[in-house]
Symmetry: C2
Subunit: 412 residues, 2 copies
């Protein structure tokens, strides 16, 4: 009952390689805080394709609505993405008509800078909600940013999208296709939740490969489901969650379109998403350790996810994790109430290599061996439901005093 | 946008009136702790009917499985309930075959004491899970308890079922039917969760009315859905949750069977359940205040419940409640991700009489007015989804440092 070991978050932040066909710049627009970058402008070469996954919230932010609309209509070449504008400090959510107008105006100005149509501009926002977006400040900052665009702007970009994150979250991977080398890079901001109103997860993924939109969409959906949709800091989903994948197809890069040449690209994409997802959970405010919940033996994938999410969002499991308490009873109780089919007589539970429950009953193990595993930064838990062959993996952080302190404080 | 005011938990515990046809006794069996009562024996007169609602966990405890089986087969008179045995200190969950055997043996001994069949005995357990039930101790305690049975044993009973509760939770109400007076009493233990393994909600309701099982079942289901199934201390459901309603039909009491004479009984049952549910939330370990979430304007009841539960289980909402922070953004974000249909342009949110959001947008209000409402022991929140006419109400407690301290500690 061993589990795959995830990489621990390295202490240093790796420098991201440039992606041919992508240029970036940041600006200080003073949206909420002074003396920090809060606007990112990215321009993409002609022929870039895009895919996105967004929050399932029924109250999505104006920029999420905007991106969805562009991706729906973006079937023809003249609708391909040419620019991306991200702002931190204000989520442009619960802002009604004026929020939608702010989005449209910003897209129009960015379109001028990129010599494209507004529908070719993607937008994302993160920050306080229910406050009108000071979009005039964003628009005013764009021309100067336009003049500073550079292919090496990824590291600055990874800072400009942060709100209350501990630090930037970046990842990169290479792949081979058709005898040529391609790259995937990504940067994200986390659902740190230290601020009441800054609960957004944003991730931007870029590759120099040439990839048709349908394939890109499928690859992103699959990777996001296994990573960004399989993490839980506190079970809350924001109005603004956005993951965008852009493929520039810049000259010399491989073309990905069929099953034959796709495997290595998919692996690279998955590894970048997995690294970013890990960092979002590990850097969750107040988090001291991460539980990697692997549910297997489920009747189907839905059941596997239900069970894994029930464990990952249980306050009882998360407080026990904080206390380093190998409390398998709380874990199985969460599985039991999840709605997933379980065969108690065939159920197993292990912490790392140590089996705690076999055939639905606690086995004889040394409490201090279990406690040692729960004291680590990464706590791998494997739960076998004893029913079928489906599996799911979810990462979750612990729930401790820092989380309460940071979230119970009055909004500043 | 006003809400019904729930009664605040009175400082004193009211004495429960006796229910004709019901006799109770408690015992110290030493199941987990010395010097406290931990077994309850109740005997019911012939003709008593029963209904139950239980945990939806796929891993229910052995006594939950037992009760379900008896209620299913309990259509004929010879299967009517005659005895109830409750123990605290051990949940008899995740105990496999030996747990089921312990349940059966206990029912057999109780049946001898009650001169009935084992299938006429109901059982409930609460306490540590995954540890074999010391059922021999329970059985040994029953004969002496049998000798001490009394109609006035309800108050002692309300203590014997507790684990780590702050105190007993009792409620009583009277009703009239057919020109005669009847009573409903109830006592409960809460999902206090201060101990990792003691997360059970038990409630026992008793009335002297004569009520046929189908009607009893429907009335209990309805009352439980509005009360016990509409509270959240931490979103976790235990393996043992049990609510039993027993109707003794003792002589002189009214017979309830049709719509004409049922209204007053239903109200009394609901008020007892509501009072017990309130006390369970208010006495949740670490809780300092209770939010009463009323969702209305929903497309249907399912949507109303989805939205109310999303708010009630959101760690962000619960930590803000702890901090007395009128953070409507977190509340609406939880509603948004709940899956319930919402019309943002018609959505409202109010704290007590104070409107905070109107037509999906924040209105101008004084922050200190909102803060004053959030500083109270009871915080009434009304959310109108602006879609239909369905509504749901859920009570939830705050999430503070005491909750983390109590739940992150190593199991003692």
């Amino acid at each position: 009952m061993s589990t795959t070991v995830s990489p621990l978050a390295p202490k240093h932040v790796p420098e991201l390689p440039a992606i041919a066909g992508v240029r970036l710049a940041t600006a200080q627009a003073g949206i909420r805080y002074a003396n920090r970058t809060d606007v990112l402008l990215a321009l993409f070469d002609e022929g870039t394709t895009a895919a996105g996954v967004f929050t399932r919230s029924k109250c999505p932010s104006a920029p999420v609505e905007w991106c969805r609309a562009q991706l729906k209509s973006g079937k023809s070449a003249k609708n391909l993405p040419r620019a991306l504008v991200v702002n931190s400090g204000n989520a442009n959510a619960f802002t009604g008509k004026s929020g939608r107008a702010a989005t449209r105006l910003t897209a129009e100005i960015a379109a001028k800078a990129a010599h494209c149509k507004p529908g070719q501009v993607f937008l994302a926002s993160t920050g306080v909600i229910g406050v009108p977006l000071p979009d005039a400040r964003i628009r005013a900052a764009l021309p100067a940013a336009r003049a500073r665009l550079s292919a090496g702007g990824l590291d600055a970009a990874s800072h400009a999208i942060l709100t209350t994150d501990v630090g930037p979250k970046v990842a990169a991977a290479a792949f081979r296709a058709g005898g040529r080398r391609g790259r995937v890079v990504g940067f994200a901001k986390g659902a740190g939740m230290i601020h009441p109103d800054m609960a957004t997860m944003l991730a931007f993924l870029m590759t120099d490969a040439e990839i048709p939109p349908p394939f890109l969409k499928a690859a992103l959906r699959r990777a996001a489901d296994e990573t960004f949709n399989a993490i839980s800091v506190d079970g809350d989903t924001s109005t603004n969650d956005t993951v965008l994948l852009l493929a520039s197809g810049a000259s010399g890069a491989p073309r990905i379109g069929g099953a034959a040449d796709a495997g290595d690209f998919k692996s690279a994409l998955l590894s970048v998403c997995r690294e970013l997802a890990w960092r979002i959970v590990r850097d969750g405010e107040g988090a001291t350790r991460v539980m990697e919940v692997l549910v297997r033996g489920a009747a189907n994938e839905r059941d596997a996810r239900l069970a894994a999410h029930a464990v990952a969002t249980s306050p009882l499991v998360k407080t026990a994790l904080h206390g380093g308490d190998p409390n398998w009873g709380r874990i199985l109780a969460a599985v039991g109430r999840s709605g997933a089919r379980i065969s108690p007589a065939r159920a197993h539970l292990a912490a790392g290599p140590l089996c705690l429950v076999e055939g639905g009953l606690p086995v004889s193990y040394r409490e201090r061996d279990a406690a040692r595993i729960f004291a680590r930064e990464r706590v791998p838990i494997t739960i076998d439901l004893g029913v079928g062959a489906a599996r799911a993996r979810v990462l979750t952080s612990d729930l401790g005093h820092d989380y309460v302190s940071l979230n119970a404080d009055y909004r500043s």
